[in-house]
């Protein structure tokens, strides 16, 4: 029996500190066998959640990175034309023998037609991520990353897969999932995702974490960092997030910064240290200036 607390502990063992909303979402997704659609600003750990889940639940991770123009040939399955051709070439003599028995052309065609399905079998089917995760013997975790980058058509394609966990191949029929994978879709919200897709998913919005959780995240990743410094840097970044920056520093920047500070062996945050490392947290020139101004107010 999986419980929410159990999931929190699981994720913690995978190095991911979850709040109760995330744990509830994962819990429901596992019990209801529904995909989770995660939205939120970049770098708050959407993909990280999927990775942590796959390692702590021991589900093999199948990742599908979306981009503009992705289609079923890249996401579901594809026929391996080259291999089919190669086989026909190699089997030519075999085929000759096989067909030479037949009396006339008509019979030969019939004989060949009877064997047609051989060339449209699983042998020649290239499994792309979605089909691969459906056919995996072990329950897998299918991560459909940055779905907002793909087009409408691709979203429509996903509808069948996500609601019924099956893939229709015209030549073979419907292939149902052996084990229903845990599906996680992530989106940065650059494009509105259709309601049809939203309806099939649980919706989880991950925003910036609160102070305690963010400190816990830093300390889980960098245990050598002292509590005081972690508190100090996290509260500084939280103030920076309110500055209306072009690219506000997110959790991934916090972790980068923590990493830099450990390498520099800093024990507390000073303006000198910030001036030297400001490039880690601010990624635009205008932002650099804003962070430095904030540092003048906040730090000594």
């Amino acid at each position: 029996m999986i419980t929410e607390q159990g999931i929190k502990d699981f994720l913690r063992s995978g190095g991911y500190i979850a709040d109760s909303a995330i744990a509830t979402a994962v819990f429901l997704a596992l019990r209801m066998e529904k995909p989770i659609l995660i939205e939120g600003p970049p770098g708050v750990g959407k993909t990280g959640l999927a990775k942590a889940l796959s390692s702590s639940l021991d589900f093999p991770l199948v990742r599908l990175q979306c981009y503009e123009g992705i289609d079923e040939g890249k996401a579901l399955y594809d026929w391996e034309y080259g291999k089919q051709l190669l086989y026909t070439q190699l089997l030519r003599t075999q085929l000759d023998n096989y067909l030479s028995v037949s009396a006339d052309l008509r019979e030969a065609v019939e004989r060949l037609a009877a064997e047609e399905s051989m060339f449209f079998s699983m042998n020649f089917l290239v499994q792309r991520p979605i089909l691969r995760s459906f056919l995996s013997e072990k329950r897998s975790l299918l991560l459909i990353d940055e779905i907002d980058r793909s087009g409408d058509e691709f979203e429509a394609l996903l509808l069948e897969c996500l609601s019924d966990f099956q893939v229709s191949v015209p030549e073979l029929g419907v292939i149902a999932a052996k084990r229903k994978p845990l599906v996680i879709l992530t989106s940065n919200g650059t494009r509105m995702i259709s309601d049809a897709l939203r309806r099939r998913c649980l919706y989880l919005y991950i925003g910036y974490p609160d102070l305690d959780r963010e400190v816990a995240i830093v300390q889980a990743r960098f245990p050598q960092i002292c509590n005081e410094l972690a508190q100090q840097m996290v509260s500084f970044l939280r103030k920076a997030r309110e500055l209306n920056m072009r690219k506000p520093p997110s959790v991934s920047e916090t972790l980068d910064w923590a990493n830099v500070l450990t390498i520099l062996n800093a024990s507390r945050l000073t303006r000198d240290i910030l001036d030297n490392t400001v490039g880690v947290i601010a990624k635009h020139q205008a932002d650099l200036q804003m962070v430095k101004e904030l540092a003048v107010q906040e730090l000594r």
Binding site: L28, C201, Y203
Partner: protein, 480 residues
């Protein structure tokens, strides 16, 4: 429990959050699976299953708080059997198909066991809920249908979407408030308007792209593509027809008299930029300046501040359309390629300067389509220094826009026509032909001139009509 969830879903719908029956079922399932443990737990479960849009989360929280706030002295016991009795009325107004019923039957046992775990805390609202009138909050959709039954036809899908605009701020006319910066809500709403618009246009865009691909076989590319298949052409590559790259050139008056409209235009441009087509945007007052780069590289509020500070164009001057047009011709007209659609936003109040309307003719030559948008009411066009009638005679269309909704509708139509056939010019010629045929019928010049004197006659015509052109002595050479 189902009743509570259903009521809650209705409350959400009244709040404007779209919840489908399927999601309602999910919520019930989730509550059974997750158990009802404390207020926050239930809130999390309901939010995960019912809310599918980050913008709706605050609304959900408000509704949740107000819905589950009523405290009662005696938490009463709920009989699970009784709950099951109401089971098939989970969603009012929804008819269950057989499949769903079967599925429900299967779930019934598990639901029963789940229902016994209910704590009264979140269900104590049942009693006062029952007291509520049955019909008070039917599904939103029914309410809507009622509204449109009868004489009023249901709105077209596109109009319908516009009726659902996310915020009331935009359904109003242009606000004339003095503060120039956009609130985050305005920006978010504009993104919403644009993304809805894009969704509606996207189908046409795709059709255009497909049509572009329809052409003769591109032999070399096909061979290259099928090299690994031993030159057997599994993948066919077709020669593209003439490449169509829709372009838009926008001239936007930012002088004080139209600033309230132009700031929305700028915001719309900002959101549209690079999402749909190449846009070159200019602002002018007495001087003309291109702001295409600024639009791409700068948050819109910064840009507005800069414009207001008068660094780009001097804001203290009065607008001078004639001078601007001449400057536009001198500096930019040469670099306009590919029959762009030209949109001019302004009130055409020239402050009694030289009109220089011959430039409009040259712009028209270069442009695929020339549209003039004015925020000023038709009634006032004849008053004072307004030159819209003169300029408008050169345009394909003069439109009066009084709100963002109208602006987005007009632009949407424009984009659609650009994308679908990319030949507004062709279409225009056809219209012209029709108009000409009409005018042949009216050879009674005397009466026509007399009618022209009356105000109403001209009010019926768009300044882009041929009668207007005649009035200003403008004649067009037919292109191609």
């Amino acid at each position: 429990m189902e009743t509570v969830v259903t009521r809650f879903v209705h409350a959400l719908r009244e709040e404007g959050i779209r919840v489908s029956p399927g999601e309602c079922l999910d919520a019930v399932n989730a509550l059974v699976l997750g158990g009802i443990e404390g207020r926050e737990g239930v809130r999390a479960l309901l939010q995960l299953t019912l809310v599918k849009n980050a913008n709706d989360i605050p609304g959900f929280n408000d509704t949740f708080d107000s819905f589950f706030c009523r405290q009662q002295e005696n938490p009463f016991f709920i009989n699970p059997e009784e709950l099951m009795g109401a089971f098939f009325h989970i969603v009012e107004g929804e008819e269950f198909t057989d499949e769903m019923l079967e599925k429900r039957q299967e779930d019934r046992t598990s639901m029963l066991s789940g229902a016994q775990n209910l704590t009264a805390e979140d269900l104590q609202n049942l009693e006062w809920l029952r007291d509520m009138e049955e019909d008070s909050d039917g599904p939103e959709i029914q309410v809507r249908m009622k509204g449109h039954r009868g004489k009023n036809k249901a709105p077209k899908p596109s109009e319908f979407n516009l009726l659902n605009l996310p915020s009331a701020a935009f359904s109003k006319s242009w606000g004339t408030e003095s503060n120039p910066a956009f609130t985050p809500e305005e920006i978010a709403d504009m993104h919403e308007v644009v993304s809805r618009m894009l969704i509606r246009i996207r189908k046409d865009v795709r059709r255009m792209k497909e049509e572009q691909n329809r052409g003769k076989l591109h032999v070399i590319k096909t061979l290259q593509k099928n090299y690994r298949n031993g030159m057997v052409p599994f993948l066919v590559s077709l020669r593209r027809k003439k490449k169509v790259r829709p372009r838009l050139v926008v001239l936007c008056d930012v002088s004080f008299s139209v600033s309230y409209a132009s700031r929305f235009m700028l915001l719309l441009l900002h959101t549209l930029h690079n999402r749909l087509m190449d846009v070159r945007s200019f602002i002018f007052n007495q001087e003309l300046a291109e702001i295409t780069d600024l639009l791409t590289n700068m948050p819109v509020n910064c840009l507005l501040e800069i414009i207001d500070s008068g660094v780009i164009v001097d804001m203290d001057e009065n607008s001078d359309y004639g001078k601007v047009l001449v400057n536009f011709k001198k500096r930019h007209l040469e670099s306009m390629r590919g029959n762009p659609t030209v949109i001019i936003l302004g009130d055409a109040r020239n402050n009694y300067n030289e009109a220089n309307d011959w430039v409009m003719d040259e712009i028209r030559e270069k442009a695929g389509y020339l549209l003039w948008l004015t925020p000023e009411d038709r009634e006032t066009w004849k008053r004072g220094d307004c030159l819209i009638e003169q300029y408008g005679a050169y345009c394909d269309k003069v439109e009066y826009v009084k709100s963002v909704d109208e602006l987005s509708v007009i632009l949407e139509d424009l984009f659609r026509s650009i994308y679908t056939d990319h030949a507004p010019r062709k279409r225009r010629d056809r219209f012209d032909k029709d108009n000409e045929e009409n005018t042949v019928d009216y050879k009674d010049y005397y009466n026509q001139a007399k009618a022209a004197e009356s105000h109403n006659y001209w009010m019926q015509l768009n300044p882009s009509s041929s009668a207007w052109r005649e009035r200003f002595g403008i004649s067009y050479r037919k292109k191609r």
